[in-house]
Symmetry: C2
Subunit: 335 residues, 2 copies
DNA sequence: CTGTTAGCGCGTTCAC
DNA sequence: GTGAACGCGCTAACAG
């Protein structure tokens, strides 16, 4: 029962017309006898004809699909970025094909090669954390396939890039705490090997400096494993003689762990200690008090990156743009 | 600079061979002079030749891509299912193309038509919550395109389906509470119009019945808007003369809201009141005490559905299977 | 307005 | 072992 797919030829035969006439009628291009056009449309409808994109692609060398490569799809950050991509792609008539690199360079390379085989019109990529070598990306560009980096980019390749300013987000969070009157602000930092963590740390430091608040090294603790060792780090912080009156955490999970720990000690949030997180995870509205946090423009990243990619696909010679998007402070009850 | 893509013809010309010879050499099929084969492979490597899937698809009428239609991609449940799909598809040489219906039947129909145009080899779908009409799906099947439903299926169309047993999960949760010695078990139910909510409610009821625990209607409250009105419902529950000693919540968010409310009242979890959630959201390990919950096999759903679809694609005549997967109880500290 | 021809990149005969 | 010819479904160029 396979292959019941109706083709132009089928329509042409039944209508005793030539294939090209049918094709023209369906696409209403050039002059066509309104009468025959009507017939064609009617039969197409009746037989449930759907144009074969594959054949079309082969002819005009455009597949109208863009390939996306990202580390993992099951993360609230990427899932949201994907939403943005879909929105733009959809509205411009493009399809999206996803592939996961699982953070390994081997899979990343395999993904890209497959996308090339599919002849995607362009590629959107957030590189794996180990990716350093630019060769593959250069080859892609040489083949005339536009590529734009989102979220994580590679310095060594010149291309359009859309990223998020981590420094600014952290700065915003700390500045907010300062404005609220907190002065002894601690930072639950992320793993020191990760650039997003150090950028956020720098944002924290600069916000303090710019407001003439002395930096207390004891107030900076690194959670080398994110939320998994956050609890002991908070305990460290509140074991200090001179305890902090606010915490800026590298992510929402760590912030929430802090809140719960402090509450169990009898502290009141935000009166005794204020807490600000990062990410605006769904959790942040659920906890009590609801968490003040930084919302990264992940949806926007997806949208912008896709828009820029399609621009490049359709207007051959476009200079590379490098956009750095800012995050937003979401003030809730924890600060 | 476009269209730098190398083709068989390019290789053939440079090697002064015919296209078919080159093709054969690359696919190492039939007898080929090992010498010419070596040359071909060398040049292909040098020129970075990548076979054109589009052209291949047109010839053998198989695209090796499967289309997925789901309500929203940015949900931890679907994101996880997608992971399962990717794993299976990847290992079997298939690509996946996603599209979102945004829970509307119009977009759902548009998605399916586009997938048909792309000539996907098969379709995986979780229908929008308003979908009732089976016509479109029947048409897809008539075209010879296998379709399998996952998570949410349509009774009116006979096809392979992979779903999750909600009754069993709820039963597991309540049974666990009973075994722990709790007897006054309340249920924060979901919106009564949703089938998953009523199935879970029935699981709750049956678990009580099977254990000879009388059902107290006051202990069943419906959160018509999930977590958004969970707080007031819990307050209702604990405003009762005869207060519950355990809560089974329809999802993790509601469970966490309950925990925090009870803690603020001075209750100790789980000594005074036990709480069990549903979904095994990332939050559930973060909160204190960590939440006992039900883990739905979403990853498994994705895997199984994809596997069954590919089976159908490759073995024409396969009877439809209907798989109902069971959930798992994750025991943590809240019970 | 419509039909004919050619070709997109590749696989599959069928000859040589 | 290799080449020529044909077709997949469709669009584009040129006739008529």
């Amino acid at each position: 029962m396979l292959n019941k797919q109706v083709t132009l030829k089928d329509l042409a035969r039944k209508l005793r017309l030539s294939v090209s006439t049918v094709s023209r009628a369906l696409r209403n291009v050039q002059d066509i006898n309104p009468e025959t056009k009507k017939q064609v449309l009617a039969l197409a409808e009746e037989l449930n004809y759907e144009p074969n994109f594959i054949a079309k692609s082969l002819v005009n060398k455009k597949t109208k699909v863009i390939g996306v490569v990202l580390p993992v799809i099951a993360s609230s950050y990427f899932a949201s970025a994907i939403g943005g991509m879909m929105e733009v792609a959809d509205s411009l008539g493009y399809h999206i094909m996803f592939s996961q690199s699982d953070e390994t360079i081997e899979k990343e390379e395999a993904c890209i090669k497959r996308l090339i085989s599919i002849r995607v019109d362009g590629i959107l990529i957030s590189v794996s954390k180990d990716t350093i070598n630019p060769d593959l990306f250069l080859k892609v560009q040489q083949k005339g396939i536009p590529i734009v980096f989102f979220d994580r980019a590679l310095d060594s390749v010149s291309a359009t890039k859309v990223t998020v300013n981590q420094h600014q987000g952290a700065y915003l969070a700390v500045e907010h705490l300062i404005k609220k009157g907190y002065k002894k602000i601690a930072h639950l930092a992320g793993p020191s090997r990760l650039s997003i963590a150090t950028e956020r740390l720098n944002g924290y430091l600069d916000a303090l400096k710019d407001n003439n608040i002395p930096i207390n090294p004891h107030y900076i603790v690194h959670c080398e494993d994110f939320e998994h060792d956050a609890l002991e780090k908070v305990q460290l912080l509140f074991g200090l003689e001179n305890k902090p009156d606010a915490i800026f955490a590298v992510n929402d999970s760590s912030a929430i762990i802090s809140i719960q720990y402090l509450q169990s000690l009898g502290y009141h949030i935000p009166d005794d200690v204020a807490v600000v997180g990062y990410n605006n995870d769904p959790i942040s509205t659920i906890v009590n008090p609801a968490l003040t946090t930084i919302m990264q423009p992940s949806y926007e990243v997806g949208k912008v990156a896709t828009q820029l990619l399609i621009d490049e696909i359709e207007n051959e010679e476009k200079p590379f743009a490098e956009q750095v998007l800012n995050s937003e402070l979401i003030i809730r009850m924890s600060s």
